[in-house]
């Protein structure tokens, strides 16, 4: 029986994969279909949660399923960094599952079966990514994620949606090719067999020239940067906001883009290792790109009138916090980066949930139409305020915590400029979020005069994630122990200097 427990990473994946099949099979009966989503998400959450104590205690579940290619097994391994991503995906899948049902029903959308099935498959891929123990396994799940997201992006089936679908594929498939080349090449230059992700990396200057490593680093980063929305390869992300809001919420705020930044952390910390990255001098360029993205995306967000679009650019900016954290190569920055994966996920999903509820319930998409909306939907807008202030980094909300650590990381390197970037970005965040909240609560409009809150299936999850965001800021270990995990990652990546 022991092996059953040891195989838990596999069971997590099995549950999501079976859910995909079950959803497809019960397409004619919406209630059964949606029951599968809920059941699978809860079972999955329980499975992931059951591994937390062991991982906290330092145990690593490792399963080698089969050989993918010579030197590469299909390895699933639960290290702390992977657990952060897995926990985020699992917890938020439950919330999104319930929210989605409310959203899809109130809009009476078509093609719901394909939608739910792709959704489950995306979670499958995201958790697979989280548990991937080597680059090839990572790549396999990365590409599955690309494909599984496509049906969600083109969900509306309009000409425009199809066009954006093409753009999405062009970006992500090209990125996949860079990643593929990087994985293959790194496999060839590592002397002994298949390389596994390991803290400190498996590539070093001892068996490859710095030039080769630099090219490899660029290829790796290009491969994951597209999903991470790093500028200038971010354009697909705002465009993909044409998808239904729950998709934007979970995928374009959590699973897909987090897969990208998670990939950056993996590449920097577990493929190259901090020492090698600083040796080949690629840390500063990466940090510079991230800093540029943070500022530029925030500026663009200021000009967007469509709420989802503004949120999308905000996502682009916030993701680069994580990239910046990885690129600074210091202890505090690492902690900040890992924390921000979880923090941003909870806050951003709150915001997207709110945007979706506003659209589904009151059919408002534009920020300029949202004057006085706080009167109609106080719960939703209250949650929105939590998320928005959180992202801006107002204490004690979680955004402040990650920014604090990132800034400390920048302090450690002595690169003042990045602290300036972080502060500027916070100001910009306030600038583009505050007017929304102010207008919603303190302006009057004839459109919204009576209380008209979204149905419980939507407002419930909104409230839940908003509360979770607050809790995460105050006590980041109370749910999934993100704080502990972040520290474990920091210790591992910095060679015990945590």
């Amino acid at each position: 029986m022991e092996w059953l427990l040891e195989m838990r990473p596999v069971w997590v994946l099995t549950v999501t994969l079976l859910a995909t099949v079950a959803i497809l099979a019960s397409g004619r009966r919406p209630n059964v279909r949606e029951a599968w989503t809920i059941i699978a998400s809860i079972v999955q959450l329980i499975l992931v949660a059951s591994m937390i104590p062991d991982v906290v205690a330092g145990e690593v579940f490792e399963v080698r399923l089969l050989t993918l290619a010579s030197g590469f097994d299909l390895v699933l391994r639960t290290d702390p960094l992977g657990m952060v991503f897995a926990c985020v995906s699992s917890v938020l899948w439950v919330a999104t599952g319930i929210y989605t049902i409310g959203y899809m029903r109130s809009l009476n959308e078509k093609h719901q079966t394909v939608f739910y099935a792709s959704f489950a498959l995306c979670i499958f891929a995201a958790v697979g990514l989280a548990f991937s123990g080597n680059p090839l396994t990572f790549f396999v799940f990365y590409e599955i994620l690309t494909l599984a997201t496509y049906p969600l992006v083109i969900h509306k089936r309009t000409e425009k949606a199809i066009k954006i679908g093409r753009m999405y594929l062009a970006y992500t498939l090209t990125a996949g090719l860079f990643l593929l080349l990087a994985v293959g090449w790194s496999h060839l230059i590592v002397p002994e067999g298949g390389p596994d992700f390991a803290p400190g990396g498996f590539l070093s200057t001892s068996f490859a020239t710095p030039l080769t490593l630099t090219v490899l680093f660029v290829l790796f980063i290009l491969g994951v940067a597209v999903k991470a929305g790093l500028m200038p390869v971010h354009a697909w992300l705002p465009a993909a906001m044409i998808a239904p809001t729950p998709v934007s919420a979970l995928l374009h705020a959590v699973a897909v883009v987090k897969a990208g930044v998670f990939g950056v952390l993996r590449v920097v910390g577990y493929v190259f290792g901090y020492d090698t990255v600083s040796e080949i001098g690629m840390a500063l360029p990466l940090a510079a790109v991230a800093a540029f993205t943070i500022i530029a995306a925030s500026v663009v967000a200021l000009t967007a009138d469509n709420l989802k679009r503004r949120l999308a650019y905000s996502t682009v900016g916030q993701l680069s916090y994580v990239v910046l954290g990885a690129a600074l190569l210091t202890t505090a920055a690492t902690t900040g980066a890992v924390m921000h994966i979880a923090n941003h996920a909870f806050m951003k999903i709150t915001l997207f949930f709110c945007a979706g509820a506003i659209y589904a319930h009151l059919h408002v998409e534009k920020i300029s139409d949202m004057k006085g909306i706080g009167r109609a939907m106080p719960v939703t807008m209250g949650a929105f305020a939590v998320g928005a202030f959180g992202l801006a980094g107002i204490p004690p909300l979680p955004g402040f915590v990650s920014k604090w650590w990132l800034a400390s990381g920048a302090w450690q390197t002595g690169d003042w400029i990045f602290i300036v970037v972080l502060i500027t970005s916070s100001l910009l965040n306030v600038l583009y979020f505050f007017p929304i909240i102010f207008n919603a609560f303190f302006r009057k409009s004839e459109r919204f005069t009576v209380y008209n809150e979204a149905p419980v299936a939507m407002s419930g999850p909104i409230l839940a994630v908003a509360v979770a965001s607050i809790v995460l800021g105050l006590a980041p270990d109370i749910g999934p122990p993100f704080w502990t995990f972040a520290n474990q990652v920091t210790v591992a990546l910095n060679g015990g200097a945590g």
Partner: protein, 531 residues
């Protein structure tokens, strides 16, 4: 039955089936297909048996025909490469036959026994080519398979005899160039057995005759394999021939050309000798790279689904030959793995086209709207095969691409790396174009009216004018007289058609996840010594 005999049986059984099929017809129509199936099935069993021994023991199985010892007699030899090819040919031949149950019978009105007889002969020729270890015997089997192939292609749409004739001219040119090259080799070595020729060739070094022979033989097989720019015969043949033929021929027909190139390069010339002939190999590599890109780009321009897949074949054979031209272990294994993977992918895709034409009677990409709803399972198989063609994990196509990329990096040829990567994108472009139609585009109401009109009267040919009256302008490309009628009503695809599609589609996943086994236990042994 001894082990080595089974090699002869693999060739003899379908040959016998080909011979008796016209006679069996006298017993009644019902006997025809079972006979063919038995012939093909028995060959599959023998092939699996022999292949199991080869893989199990790690040693080739040999058979001396007529008891004459090589190099005087003809030697059949199944090494790891032959084992892969034989099993591939046998299994796909069987699957495609199962798929064809009924369809061919109806279209040929009681003369299908000739078709199946040729089908069997084609299979015999392919088996012979991959099993023989004698140069001239290889030529003979090449011609056996080609002649049968020409006649198979001639069974199809209106222009198919014309396409078959053009293929015949080019194919014969290819075979004759190979024969001429063989003559050169015979003139300088005085022997025909592969191993014997290889041994005697080694001390000849950079003999000019050997160089000419290599170039001639590669060109000859290049035509057979449809290596760009020798591919001109392929698109027409595939477009006009019947789906059954194409499903099998596209899967393995061109692959034996690639097999021939492998034999010439790595068995006859051997690696030690190849260094004198590097330019020839390099030219082949460059042509293969051009083929990959040109084939994909041409595929993008097609509106006929079969023609698109045909050009895609031109591009995919480029992968195989590109792998060979890298002259390193990963490249060669990738090439051979791609032979297997692509055979299953293309077979699956063409079977889907066959099922589609049986149901809706056309294959115009622009008129595929709503197919995803009409034939969900078949289109799911199509999507899986398409994903595999693009080369996304965990499907089979990804893994051959993986080894090819490793090979290209190993060889340090960054241009080849770029070609492989770019072509994945091109593949994605032309396959997603189809998938978008199939799944996303709304059906044209006029189109739907036509479909129902055709479907309800599918038993009797629709009178052209009434069908054309509701046909949208853009669909008029396929002329009324040429357009084959759907011969099955909607939703009545028999299990014998669905099963092969399903099996090929699932094998794409199985081949993907099992590729490591294949590489470690089979393909490693194919890589010639010294690489």
């Amino acid at each position: 039955m001894t082990t080595s005999n089974s090699l002869a049986w693999i060739i003899a059984v379908p040959f016998f089936a080909a011979a008796v099929l016209p006679m069996v017809r006298r017993l009644g129509k019902a006997w025809v297909l079972p006979t063919a199936l038995i012939g093909s099935g028995a060959a599959l069993i023998f092939a699996l048996y022999a292949a199991a021994i080869v893989v199990g023991s790690g040693e080739p199985v040999r058979h001396e025909l007529g008891g004459w010892e090589p190099p005087w007699g003809i030697e059949l030899r199944m090494d790891h490469l032959s084992a892969v090819m034989t099993v591939l040919i046998a299994s796909l031949s069987f699957l495609v036959l199962v798929f064809g149950r009924g369809g061919m019978e109806k279209r040929l009105e009681g003369r299908s026994h000739f078709y199946y007889s040729m089908y069997m002969l084609f299979t015999v020729g392919l088996f012979g080519m991959v099993l023989t270890h004698d140069l001239f015997n290889l030529y003979v089997f090449l011609e056996v398979s080609s002649l049968a192939g020409y006649s198979l292609i001639a069974v199809g749409e209106r222009a198919s005899p014309f396409a078959a004739f053009r293929y015949l001219i080019l194919g014969t040119l290819g075979a004759l160039l190979f024969l001429l090259g063989l003559g050169y080799l015979y003139a300088i070595t005085g022997t025909l057995n592969f191993i014997d020729v290889a041994e005697r060739l080694a001390p000849l070094g950079d003999s000019r005759a050997a160089l000419v022979a290599l170039a001639l033989m590669l060109t000859g097989f290049g035509i057979k394999a449809a290596l760009f720019p020798l591919h001109a015969w392929l698109p027409d043949s595939y477009a006009y021939a019947s789906n059954l033929t194409v499903a099998f021929m596209a899967a393995v027909g061109t692959k034996v050309g690639a097999y021939g190139i492998f034999r010439v390069l790595f068995t006859i010339y051997e690696t030690g000798n190849l260094q004198f002939h590097m330019p020839v190999v390099q030219i082949m590599g460059i042509l293969a790279a051009i083929a990959i890109l040109a084939g994909s780009i041409l595929a993008m321009a097609q509106s006929d689904l079969k023609r698109m897949l045909a050009y895609s074949s031109v591009s995919q054979i480029g992968y195989v030959l590109l792998g060979f031209s890298m002259l390193n272990a990963n490249g060669i294994m990738g090439g051979v793995l791609h032979i297997v993977n692509h055979a299953f992918m293309k077979c699956c895709l063409f079977l889907v086209v066959g099922a589609m034409m049986a149901q809706v009677g056309h294959r115009d990409i622009r008129r595929l709207s709503g197919m995803g709803r009409k034939m969900p399972w078949v289109m799911a198989a199509f999507s899986l095969a398409a994903i595999s063609m693009i080369g996304l994990p965990p499907t089979a196509g990804f893994f051959s691409k993986w080894y090819l990329i490793l090979g290209a990096v190993d060889a340090g040829s960054w241009i080849f790396v770029a070609v492989i990567l770019v072509s994945s994108l091109l593949n994605a472009a032309y396959f997603f174009r189809v998938l978008e139609r199939v799944y996303l585009k709304r059906e044209d109401p006029a189109e739907a009216a036509l479909e129902t009109a055709v479907a309800t009267t599918s038993a009797t040919p629709v009178s052209g004018s009434s069908a054309l009256a509701v046909q949208p302008e853009e669909a008029l490309e396929v002329r009324e007289e040429e357009a084959p009628r759907p011969w099955l009503g909607p939703g009545t695809l028999p299990a014998t058609m669905l099963a092969p599609i399903g099996i090929t589609a699932i094998s794409l996943l199985a081949l993907g996840l099992g590729s490591a086994w294949l590489v470690e236990n089979v393909l490693r042994f194919i890589v010639p010594g010294g690489l």
